[in-house]
């Protein structure tokens, strides 16, 4: 079936040429074509890009946009996901619960902690390291790059397993720190910190390499010009390099804000299940539990839509803010 569609694509793709190139030189070779009403011919000529987009758009429609619409619908109902049980319309009841449930408020607070806690490891420290190493050349640089990047490639379950072993009461971390048999992941005080540390370990190298690449993209001329004018190394960094690096840094910030809750998800699922006493859970993990453990699809959908809206607003604000600052600088 695809074969047929694509033969048509090739055919109409060739048809488009006379129209675009001006002069219907090749068309008279086929008298039938010339007799076609111009509107239909133009429609055929306009078709190819849409046909190329079709498979991708179909995937998006079926697996992304239709589910979003259905999530909005579900959020107004009470339903336990079983085909046999009825859906009851409950209006804004689910949304009211989203904003009043203490469990969700705790999860939102944890999510905020994850975001704030990861910013130093996704932006500040990587920027400092990238600035520090930018003059290193050659082979040593390649080796460091290769080593630093390794955590990013590790399967999430393997990462979780290794860290659970490192942080085991009898593991090497306690051994090295001389802490006896402290259980990092089972104590309310340290569980969130432990998850944060593992996540930081995963993204630090990646962030450093992204920011390093951003630095290489900046022409050295600006810094040289500033140095000629007598600017110190720090002044050049602060007033020339960092502003030019802004779009890279903003991108990392956006990633951190939007994806912190996703990055921590597998760790939560494997290491703590959100505990102890909900001290590590984040908004998405709780949502998953509502949906697939408590089978409260309405609440899960309402929470999903709400969090999505909040994240989207924050992202839009960040982009806008960056725009304004870039104007101030220029």
């Amino acid at each position: 079936m695809f074969q047929i569609v694509f033969v048509e694509v090739a055919y109409s793709g060739a048809l488009r040429v006379p129209g675009a190139g001006g002069g219907a030189v090749t068309v008279p070779a086929r008298p039938v074509e010339a007799l076609r009403p111009p509107l239909a011919r133009r429609a055929v000529a306009a078709l190819p890009p849409y046909l190329y987009l079709l498979p991708g758009l179909a995937c998006l429609a079926v697996w992304t946009y239709k589910p979003v619409i259905e999530a909005v619908q579900l959020s107004f109902y009470h339903w336990n996901l079983l085909p046999t049980s009825p859906r009851t319309y409950v209006g804004f009841e689910n949304y009211k619960r989203v904003f009043t449930l203490p469990q969700l408020r705790g999860a939102a607070k944890n999510t905020l902690w994850y975001i704030l806690g990861l910013i130093p490891f996704a932006i500040i420290l990587p920027t400092a390291i990238a600035l520090g190493i930018r003059n290193l050349g050659g082979r040593s640089r390649t080796t460091y790059r290769a080593l630093i990047f390794l955590p990013m490639l590790m399967a999430p379950v393997a990462t979780a397993a290794v860290w659970r072993w490192l942080l085991d009461p009898q593991g090497i971390v306690n051994h090295a720190l001389g802490l006896g048999s402290y259980n990092w992941l089972r104590e309310e005080r340290t569980a969130l910190l432990a998850i944060l540390a593992i996540c930081a370990w995963q993204i630090l190298g990646f962030a450093t390499l992204v920011i390093s690449a951003g630095l290489t993209g900046i022409s050295a001329d600006y810094a040289e010009a500033a140095e000629m004018d007598g600017a110190s190394r720090w002044q050049v960094t602060r007033w020339v390099t960092l502003p030019l690096l802004r779009s890279t840094l903003l991108f990392m910030l956006l990633m951190t804000v939007l994806l912190s809750a996703q990055w921590t998800f597998p760790l939560l699922d494997i290491l703590t299940q959100g505990g102890p006493a909900d001290s590590t859970t984040n908004v998405y993990y709780l949502l998953w539990e509502y949906g697939f453990r408590s089978l409260d699809s309405g609440l899960a959908s309402a929470a999903g839509i709400s969090f999505f809206a909040v994240f989207a607003v924050v992202a839009a604000l960040l982009v806008k803010l960056a725009d304004r600052y870039s104007f101030a600088d220029n």
Partner: protein, 273 residues
Amino acid sequence: MSSMRTSRLRAATSHSMLALLSLISVFPVYWMIASSFRRPQDLYDQSLLPWPLSVGNYRQVFDSLDVVGLLGNTLVIAVVTAAGQLVICLLAAYAFAAWDFRGRTVLFMAFVATWLIPFQVTMISNYLVLSNLGLLNTLAGVIVPNLCSALAVLMLRQHMQAFPRELLDAARIDGRGSWTTLWTVVVPNLRPALASLSILLFISAWNEYFWPALVLQRANSVVQLGIRGFLTAEGDDWGAVMAASGLACLPVFALYLVMQRQVIDAFVRSGLR
């Protein structure tokens, strides 16, 4: 003289910073491998070098898990997902790069916006669809919903826009259709970009955790869930758990060893834009 000294000092600082960072990055990976080769009775001995070496942990993993089956299933999922994403997104990127058409911006935004929509918003209804189609607990159920990747469309479109227009026009003058042009002109010229993108897509699919965990509830399906099951069942048998984790990372690490530069470039480019 003094400027030479400061620059040497600076280089030394850079090196020590990077060495420390590398050590932090690599140590857990090393510890995984080291623990997996310890004899079971030496496990809690925290010496940095495991000695004497033993493959007992691996033997135990192979005895209690269908390792080959797990790796095979994961490989099928990762390869088919990456290949499907590559073809579908190649076609879409081609449409965006080679034509001006009505609704182009809106449709492009429709692709980009999927990057913002969290998986957790769509999971319930996708789960229901798969369950209605009878695709739960099948590999197809993991693959099919992930066949379009916004990232791939973005990256390929970028590469294609940098592609010289004259070549496309020449092909057109030769009377080649757009379909032939895509496969005989565009794709051969994009080979490096396609290669690094396919590595990125393969690794992402291999490491995907969330969706397989939902669709394949059995532990004996993909390697990620296999380890998770093992972790709950064997609890503190760390030697065996580390051996299983090492096996799960092996294909990606092997790929990394061979194509280190392409892997890093692909990931870093995905983070630049």
